[in-house]
């Protein structure tokens, strides 16, 4: 048995102090984030609560703030989602399945991969320019709902592909082996064994991508979403507006009442985001329980 040495104890005390300091530092880092979010929410709710009325949801935009609403923007955003969701799900998950399960791991695949990861970080305004050239001009879809939705699809695709790839990668190899060893083809293995295991992760990624899509403004400004729309789009080729653009429009006006309307609009957007995130969490839990 060794003797307790004094300098040992001193060193331990020093390490402890270091530990506590770091802990406080990390706590502070977390609190700053949460605090900022709280301040933001409180500020917005205080400004916007007065205008958070049924009128907001049922009225079209108007020059008079007292009767202005964002019906066309809310409906526009929902329509956009309804187009983006299935299209980006099919293409995004399809691409991820190809890259993870089918593609040989060679130079070409690595180049693809690098491109996709890079695209996930490209500024959204660039997608706006791409959409303008591709959909509005070349495909002559005009400044329409469908042009906007396709542009947003391009924007979220890399995010979905990367998330779905991660989810597929996380499925243990043993599970694929078990399926192949029973005589399953590639597609049988992917559809019956791999995808069910990866689905919660994929869905979470897709929903997070959707919340990115409903908050984006810049690319739609490029495409030419209108700031004043007093009708609901009826065809895919109709003109449209969305919530963030309506908010942007209200904020850029001088009257404070419009600023309050903007705050109410932000509340609508935030509520939608929260609902989507809760759905993501619930889905994940539900699937995990099924396993």
């Amino acid at each position: 048995m060794k003797e307790w040495k004094q300098d040992d104890r001193k060193r331990v005390a020093n390490r402890r102090r270091m530990d506590t300091t770091l802990k406080l530092l990390f706590l502070a880092a977390t609190s700053i984030g949460i605090l900022a979010l709280m301040v933001l929410i409180i500020d917005i709710v205080m400004d916007g609560l007065g205008h958070f009325t049924p009128d907001l949801f049922t009225n079209y935009p108007s020059r008079r703030p007292s009767s202005a609403g964002m019906k066309s923007a809310i409906v526009g955003s929902i329509y956009m989602l309804l187009i983006i969701l299935p299209v980006s799900f099919v293409f995004g998950v399809g691409a991820a399945i190809y890259l993870e399960e089918y593609a040989k791991k060679n130079r070409l695949t690595r180049i693809f991969q690098l491109n996709i990861s890079t695209l996930a970080g490209v500024p959204s305004i660039v997608y706006g320019i791409l959409g303008l050239t591709l959909f509005v001009r070349w495909f002559m879809l005009e400044r329409s709902l469908i042009s906007g939705a396709f542009t947003m699809t391009l924007l979220v695709l890399p995010i979905i592909i990367v998330a779905a790839q991660e989810a597929l990668k996380a499925v243990p190899k043993a599970r694929r082996d078990a399926s192949f060893a029973l005589g399953a083809t590639k597609w049988q293995t992917v559809s019956r064994s791999v995808l069910p295991s990866a689905l919660p992760g994929i869905l979470t990624g897709v929903i997070l991508a959707m919340s990115r899509a409903i908050g984006e403004t810049a690319p739609l400004v490029m495409i030419g979403a209108l700031t004043y729309v007093a009708f609901l789009p009826e065809k895919l080729t109709d003109q449209f507006t969305v919530i963030p653009i309506q908010i942007y429009n209200w904020i850029s006006r001088p009257q404070t009442e419009f600023h309050e309307l903007a705050a109410a609009g932000i509340m609508v957007l935030l509520i939608m985001l929260i609902i989507m995130n809760i759905t993501a969490v619930l889905l994940r839990n539900k699937f995990q329980k099924n396993i």
Binding site: A174, D177, A181, R192, I291
Partner: protein
């Protein structure tokens, strides 16, 4: 005894690594053959050539003949899915699907087109009975396969392999992750199954090889040093290296 697997001058390369060297071997039908040898000598590699699981490793190249029931399984006329239906495999770690016990067993038959509920029920029961698991799980077939013990999971994996009615069952260290009692159960099970199936098992446990197998193959550095009747190989090996290995002088 009839020969079911016949390997002639088989060479296997993982890219430029020569993993199996000039292996020639005959495996008898409806008996247990054990593969023994030090780690990395190619036992799993040879086992995986029997159901072509090596095909999925990029850069694998094979020369020579590996015939099952008289047909070269690497020829064009054999399709891999049918081969794997005939040659089942049980892995080192129990690897049930995250599905119910029932759906685990029914997975294979469903792949091959069986949809009829009654027929599936029947297959599930017979497979679980064959794997000596029926009595333990018959009252909760709908429960997750992860809710049973590791040893039971491994027997579930055996039942799952049996459900597609294979002729051959490959077991790669199927008991090495299990406790002694579960191991014993699986050894007993193998003994029962060998009347109906050809079993090839890789094991690191020489006692296990001696206990359960009829034929033993000794590998070293990608070569088959010796294979013969288990009793003969353990009591009176032909090759000095075999003797050194089984007496525990290396490996």
């Amino acid at each position: 005894m009839n020969t079911i697997i016949e390997i002639d001058k088989l060479n296997l390369f993982y890219s430029d690594f020569h993993a199996l060297r000039n292996v020639s071997l005959e495996i008898p039908e409806k008996a247990i053959t054990a593969f023994i040898g030090p780690s990395g000598c190619g036992k799993s590699t040879l086992l995986r050539t029997f159901n072509r699981m090596n095909d999925m490793i990029q850069g694998t190249r094979i020369e020579g003949v590996c015939a099952i029931g008289g047909t070269d399984i690497y020829s064009d006329e054999v399709d891999v899915e049918t081969l794997r239906k005939r040659v089942g495999m049980v892995f080192q770690q129990p690897n049930p699907f995250p599905k119910s016990i029932y759906d685990n067993i029914a997975y294979g038959p469903r792949l091959h087109g069986i949809k009829d509920r009654k027929k599936l029920d029947e297959i599930v029961e017979t497979s679980l009975r064959s794997a000596a698991l029926w009595e333990e799980v018959k009252d909760h077939l709908k429960r997750s396969a992860f809710s049973i013990s590791g040893g039971q999971q491994q027997r579930l994996c055996i039942a799952r392999a049996l459900a597609v009615e294979p002729d051959i069952l490959l077991m790669d260290e199927a008991t090495s992750a299990l406790d002694p009692i579960s191991t014993l159960k699986i050894e007993e099970l193998a003994q029962e199954l060998k009347d109906r199936y050809t079993i090839v098992m890789v094991t690191h446990n020489m006692h296990q090889a001696a206990r359960v197998s009829q034929q033993t193959v000794f590998f070293l550095n990608g070569e088959v040093v010796e294979y013969s009747d288990t009793e003969q190989l353990f009591s009176n090996p032909n090759d000095q290296r075999t003797e050194d290995y089984i007496s525990g002088r290396f490996g």
